[in-house]
Amino acid sequence: MTVRVQEELFDLGAETAGFAARASGAGAVVTFTGLVRDVPGGLSGMEIEHYPGMTEKALTAIRAEAMARWSLADALIIHRYGQLRPGDLIMMVATASRHRADAFAAAEFLMDYLKSRAPFWKNERVGSDSAWVAARDEDEAALSRWQD
């Protein structure tokens, strides 16, 4: 599966190794991994909510767009939801191409799009308080560099 939305932890090493092994003909694999960042005061947990159905649809479309824009052997997106703790893996993308430039660019594109176009929402808990993470203007602005 090239797009996965799941509650359970994934094995970064095994996913990367498996992805590289399947990317026949590629000379380059780029991976990016997002972790739950701690905050001042100490994060007690993060809950990621998503929109089942739309999430898979949006990620599949973003992946297809990357495959069409760059010469890629393959692209993988894994994104978790549910209860996470500081330091936990949230998501990963992997891209494979013949030479590294396409794999690097496509990985950045996937990240920029899934930050602001995939229906996930993060809720941070510090002590007994919880707050929804606000979208960042920088993330929205990052999309503009991919628009022709």
């Binding site: 909510e49 998501m91 899934l114 229906p119 809720n123 979208a135």
Partner: protein, 83 residues
Amino acid sequence: MILDVLYFAWVRERIGLPRERIETKAPTVAALVAELAAREDRYAAAFADLSALRVALDQDLSDFDAPLSGVREVAFFPPMTGG
């Protein structure tokens, strides 16, 4: 028409439910929003600032001026924070 209306993140919390079925004649998303906001204070509070909201029609991102004809599922949520 009958619509499934879904709410996520703080929109869900403010309205107090994740989804509901609504019978409406609203021609556009904006008209549906006006209809919901007129119902009760909790809806009015959730829809007070449309610039802070996004809408999806049948699981595709859309706009508040989009028509609702043929649509089955409408979702309201804040800007997304994936990654």
